[in-house]
Amino acid sequence: MADIRNNFVGIKSPNPFWLASAPPTDKAYNVERAFKAGWGGVVWKTLGEEGPPVVNVNGPRYGAIWGADRRLLGLNNIELITDRDLYTNLREMKQVKKNWPDRAIIASIMVPCTEEAWKAILPLVEETEVDGIELNFGCPHGMSERGMGAAVGQVPEYIEMVVRWCKQYTRMPVITKLTPNVTDIRKPARAAKAGGTDAVSLINTINSIVSVDLDNFAPNPTVGGKGSHGGYCGPAVKPIALNMVAEIARDPETYGLPISGIGGITTWRDAAEFLALGAGNVQVCTAAMTYGFKIVQEMITGLSDWMDAKGHQSLDDIIGRAVPNVTDWQYLNLNYIAKAHIDQDACIKCGRCHIACEDTSHQAITQFVDGVRHFEVMEEECVGCNLCVNVCPVENCITMEALPAGELDKRTGKVVDPVYANWTTHPNNPMARQAAE
């Protein structure tokens, strides 16, 4: 049996699956249920400063997009940080941690961007004996209008400053949660590192309008005829999150900085992909909000079974394994040549590969052969783009086959060169030409 116990910046949990700071972790009742279901840890829903708590809208807080059979693909929300009294939250956190000593509890915090505010709340949190804190610099709606959340996360100097205060006023590990609503995710990550953060977590939700109600011409969710942008999450954001995690993991300036991966994780496979791209553990929200806490059991067994099948002993065997294979486009091997191949036995003759290629790409797939409906790749036209593979409704019906070295590429009339060669040395690259001259 693979060992999936997790140690993230010294915080131990029986598995790498934490619930992200969000509605599922707003109070003891939910968190107790989550731990009973098997979650390794939770990041408690974000605490605000002492005093009257924030208020939420009293209308709809969520909007969504759906795939086939109304499967939820993307969720958007306009909910704010916890709207419960600070001391109620702290009391419950302390009690739950006492009840579940083997599970991780992290306090998410968002207070105004002043040293006093942070200095005031940190001892209160520390007193609960939870395992660490997460700085919410991500929330893109509501709180950001008040100079908190993403308003901090979008300014690297503020990130560095607040992280520094936190490291100064608490002994607890500090995880800095980043907003994806920036142009270059490496900048806030570098700032967090400069401030001394123990880790970063990402991504928070993405600015979004999830849909427009075409009857009253207002964004969804509509509150009394108006809508506001919300934070987008769920399976749809996973590719964006994976890239941002990878960008930080392979940035020389932040290389080795622990990352808690967040963004659309729904299955063990999603989690394994985040781990492979350098995340030390993962946080989940939308999947639990869609299906309930039980999904963690699929994640635990799925990850463990896959690791067993592949011979991976512990999480350290997989964390970051894909990072060296993430590179810039300019370093991709231009002498690697692949052609699509259609398995005629698996083909159901829907014609989608043909029309995708014919209408929108390279006219490399037949529709008829000898007058019979037959879809076949014309290698002399195929550039190996993979579009047909992606539009084919049958898995593994179309595959990309690499041409071995020495083989003739019928499209270019050239023999496949075994030597790695990329754009930096390509004769068409003006920079390469200059270098040669």
Partner: protein
Amino acid sequence: MERLGSGSAPGIEAGRLTPAEYETNFADLHPRLDRHEALVAADRCYFCYDAPCMTACPTTIDIPMFIRQISTGNPLGSAKTIFDQNILGGMCARVCPTETLCEEACVRNTAEDRPVEIGRLQRYATDIAMEAGRQFYTRPAPTGKTVAVVGAGPAGLAAAHRLAMHGHSVVILDAREKAGGLNEYGIATYKAVDEFASREVEYVTAIGGIEIRNGQALGRDFSLSDLTAQYDAVFLAMGLAGVNGLGIEGEDLAGVDDAVDFIAALRQAKDKATVPIGRRIVVLGGGMTAIDAAIQAKLLGAEEVTICYRRGKEHMNASGYEQDLATANGVIIRHWLAPKRILGKDGSVAGIEVEYTAMRDGKLVPTDETGVIAADQIMKAIGQSFLASGLGALAMERGRIAVDAESRTSVERVWAGGDCVGVGEDLTVSAVAQGRDAAESINRVLAAGIQPATAVA
């Protein structure tokens, strides 16, 4: 359960079941999908390119497009896509043997043996449009041309609608009391409940410019030459009026009935409890009529219903789906049995002597081995034949009206389509296609006639 009716009484009796049983038995076979079901079903469509289902449809409905319109929440647009090709798309959604047409061609069969439910999706969209009374076509300014259509069945109605779309006036002459043809008289009751056939006639004719005259029979009330004299063009679509006979002893006994008459009488009966049915029934034939008659006999409370077909299962015209539906309803289907003699007692049917048949050297031959099946009612469903008079010198081909590729007959300005010509598959949907295309051909001729003469340059 206590039966109100005559239960398992021998002979041919009405009221064998309780009112509740009649209601259950003759309810809609496949109720319309609700919105969610339709979205789930529509999601399964791959939006194939040059889709095989579309090619398999005799009316070439753009099936991937109408399903996509359902999935995007546009059922009215979907209905228009259907009606553009097939104005009787509502009935076709109910009666088409989709399992041998579009759904057989569906590529989902290859991957998972379960096609997209095209027929039921078509019904979903067309029902919504028809219930909303949504008309998609308006009649342009009248051209002044009038076309006579003989027969208000699928071919005639499809032709009339398309002619009206081109601005021509149409007079439909139909021999029956109600319009609709086989849609009204020849379809199993549970396939077209709630007066659907007559509602569809109203929907189709609502475009305007179509007058239906009922009780007008060709050869009795008018002749083809009357029509060619009075109208600019004629479309013959009177279907098949004759029923094939057995030509065996005992055929004139009480209790020997034509299946088409039984089906029609049942469809027209307001109260199904008034329709008499035998206790033991033998249906002769292997097509849809035999299946429809047998199932409905069972649903009326017959104790034992046996279909006897003189060839094998694979030769039956009824689809595998229809055969399964029959056996699921308790009908026994026996193959390789030919009727030899109907046995009577006191002037009524008492049974049927059948003879086993065999295929030898590609020919169906009797085997001398016989047996008797007890029965108090025999239904003949061995095919219909063309029967008409008043056609003058109109050329015939293999017993039906001869037509060319454009549905033109041997007589100038006379077209024909539907079951009365020999080219179709005797399906509603084929009749619709022929009526529609004949109307286009008629319009080409009429339009050429009404164009102003071109001055010589």
